[in-house]
Symmetry: C2
Subunit: 457 residues, 2 copies
């Protein structure tokens, strides 16, 4: 690989590179092309056999596919696009804005254009947008042998042949899904329906979220799931490899969102500076403006701080503990909701578990905090004054209150977001920390007012 790349940099020879690539696996070709500029990659594609070039374009891992196809010579563009899987081609056009999209589509032959347009009507991230229309179907009147003969004939033009969809002869509605393994194990003369499982086939509507489709495919261990319209006609199928790509993308998005930013799809080094700032500044500014409330809270406690400045020492420690316990609880609940381990209505079961958990964790941290103050005071590392014991108690009790508040708030936030129609994964660690910070300050000074009244305050 390294050698190939060095050669390329020295003197770029697309024809020579194409000869090398044909010997490798398609997925490795994608890696090689990802290292090139789009016009260079397009030049290499034009030297490859059509089959291979189409195979490469069909890989979702090809980063700059829209730029590459734009750089193709006009006749090659039409040939390769008509060979591609319709769902991949549609995905590619979805990344090209109008009016260029319409202009490029008009270069294709009518059939290809129709197949792609059929997928393009579905919003991104739905079952319809990742389905392929190249599946195998058979009328219910066929025998096993007839169906196998049909599969042999169409095998090359179908994305998968491992699931065969049996349609009603007249209405063309889906009756059953038969797997290829059961088909080849069955008697050739038997009717095709004899090889079916006789369970209602699992289907999905075209507008179902791809994450939901992934969940169904995983749950029922399917290799593909049919997308059907309201009347039960098969519009296309979503295959397991499309679903894995969807799961990987979603899990990236979840981690990025939890880190407090908008999801970015491109590889890090390909994100432009302006794009990076846009994706990060929005949330950062929103959090900053909410966090300004802490300044207001601090302003209202200036009188107390003037009397007992020593209280300021523990503000960062106490605030961060609330944020950390909240962030733990949120991450735990985001996953439980995403994996459907919990339903929305079960929020109260979570609340009554987080309350004792928060109290216990708060008690542990509170004890640590009081011990810290006692040790520093006794060994003379720092002098908290004559009232160091009530100060230690203030810190300890404030920690119990803040960690409990953080755990409960952090665990309820994903439920609240889901209830309001947002993705529970929008609850980010910085979001929770911001929610908890102001309350943390109020709890801290509140406890101080009660315990230190008559001594320091």
């Amino acid at each position: 690989m390294e050698d190939i790349l060095n050669e390329v940099e020295a003197a770029f020879d697309p024809a020579a590179l194409a000869v090398t690539l044909v010997r490798d696996h398609v997925a490795d070709n994608v890696d090689a092309l990802n290292a090139l500029a789009a016009d260079q990659a397009a030049a290499v594609l034009s030297y490859l056999p059509f089959d291979r070039a189409i195979d490469i374009l069909d890989q979702p891992e090809l980063d700059a596919a829209p730029d590459i196809v734009r750089a193709l010579p006009e006749d090659l563009f039409a040939t390769l696009l008509s060979g591609m899987a319709a769902d991949r081609a549609a995905d590619l056009f979805r990344q090209i804005d109008e009016p260029e999209r319409a202009r490029l589509l008009s270069r294709l032959d009518a059939d290809t254009r129709k197949a792609i347009s059929r997928v393009l009507v579905y919003p991104a991230n739905t079952a319809g947008s990742i389905m392929t229309t190249e599946f195998v179907s058979a009328p219910s009147t066929w025998t096993v042998g007839q169906t196998l003969a049909h599969i042999r004939k169409v095998e090359r033009t179908r994305e998968t042949v491992y699931a065969i969809y049996v349609l009603d002869q007249s209405s063309r509605r889906l009756l059953q899904a038969v797997t290829l393994r059961r088909l080849i194990a069955a008697e050739p003369d038997a009717p095709i329906l004899a090889a079916a499982r006789h369970e209602t086939p699992i289907t999905v509507p075209a507008l179902m979220d791809r994450e939901e489709v992934a969940r169904l495919i995983t749950k029922y261990d399917l290799l593909a799931v049919p997308v059907v319209d309201a009347a039960g006609h098969v519009l296309g199928i979503v295959t397991v490899d499309d679903v894995i790509d969807a799961i990987l993308e979603e899990s990236s998005e979840d981690v990025q969102k939890f880190g407090g930013m908008e999801a970015i799809e491109q590889p890090y080094l390909q994100i432009s500076f302006a794009h990076m700032i846009r994706k990060r500044a929005g949330w950062l500014c929103a959090l900053f403006c909410s966090e300004m409330l802490t300044a207001s809270a601090m302003q209202s406690f200036q009188a107390e701080l003037e009397k007992a400045l020593v209280l300021s020492v523990f503000i960062p420690l106490i605030m961060s503990s609330g944020g950390n316990s909240g962030s733990q609880a949120t991450s735990l609940l985001i996953r439980s909701l995403a994996l459907r381990e919990l339903r929305l209505g079960e929020w109260w079961r979570v609340a009554i578990r987080e309350l004792p958990t928060g109290l216990m964790l708060g008690a542990i941290l509170g004890t640590l905090g009081m011990a810290r103050i006692a040790v520093w005071q006794q060994f003379g590392f720092y002098d908290y004054g004559e009232h160091w014991m009530p100060i230690a108690l203030t810190v300890g009790l404030a920690l119990v209150g803040i960690v409990t508040f953080g755990s409960v708030t952090g665990s309820m936030l994903p439920f609240l977001l889901q209830r309001l129609g947002f993705d529970p994964a929008s609850a980010s660690a910085p979001f929770v920390a911001t929610l908890v910070d102001v309350t943390g300050l109020v709890i801290y000074f509140g406890v101080a007012l009660v315990i230190l009244r008559g001594t320091l305050l």
Copy 2:
């Protein structure tokens, strides 16, 4: 579903429930059993046909599988376990501690025990631990027709028949992998190797991490990948559905770790109180102890605060901005490293991108912060004193410094952890915030000392 569960609660009748379950899909049976206690679930299994009971136990979604099999009558235990996929059975025994594990294994017949033990030797989360030994192989001397006849015979006892592994006649080493679709499309009289792709087959070693296996299966769009020993003998295969389960689990773990806790596998409501505290208290205490450094930093700035108490107002705001920008950068880089978009050696390319990004984001927040102070002062919401302008400048410049420091530190942390041999995903949002907090305070007071010298300080 709801009806079934209500019935169960009223009067638990395992035989009646079993009759209902047989009509449903296996995956739905798992949901129903997950709602029962382990001994009740075991009772229901004993009323089901063997095939169905084995199918249910084979689902990784069955939560309390180890408890359920322990509650089975002795003879049924041996029958069902011998029918299960060896990888699933091994996974189940992995969750049972010695000496009980040895005692239960001794109840099985020799063949089953051997098959399970062969998988049990591999550490959890490796290719070996999730592979199945029930795959189809064929000697290279067979024809396509002979192979298809063989598949028809063994279909019922194999986890997948969609990939056939062609072995060298004498050495039994792996030569090629042939897909079933190419096999049925080929001429029956042709030698089996004619249906192969003639590329070196993709294989994995038994100790490869399952996440890495998932990456290969995704990259090459495989339905299964063979696990081979050093000599090239096939030990077993990892199928795509095992890999999806692995990806889902890993992505849960990643989010939980990013939230600052140890990964928990069980569903939220099944975690015991003690377990929950253990998994959360460790990190929380570690972070708390590191965060104690902020108290030390605050102590050393008490003299400055005494002279200019107004500086305390912005401490929470400034600290949280550092943590938020760091958490963004970390989440972005964790995913880039996990998806292999970046190599370890490319850390400097990231550093030189994060530096200007951090400066820009810091300038945006700094401007907002200064505007806030100016507005509050001008409209009389709060009086920051006669030196409000240098104070605003201090806050603004400190924000530039802290956000830049947060972005750079947050982006480098995953690289550092990977370099030290840890999972980059161990870099949690609270971890980054803690790293950034102390430095944030130092930067803030440092800027204040320079700008406010001669006026307030």
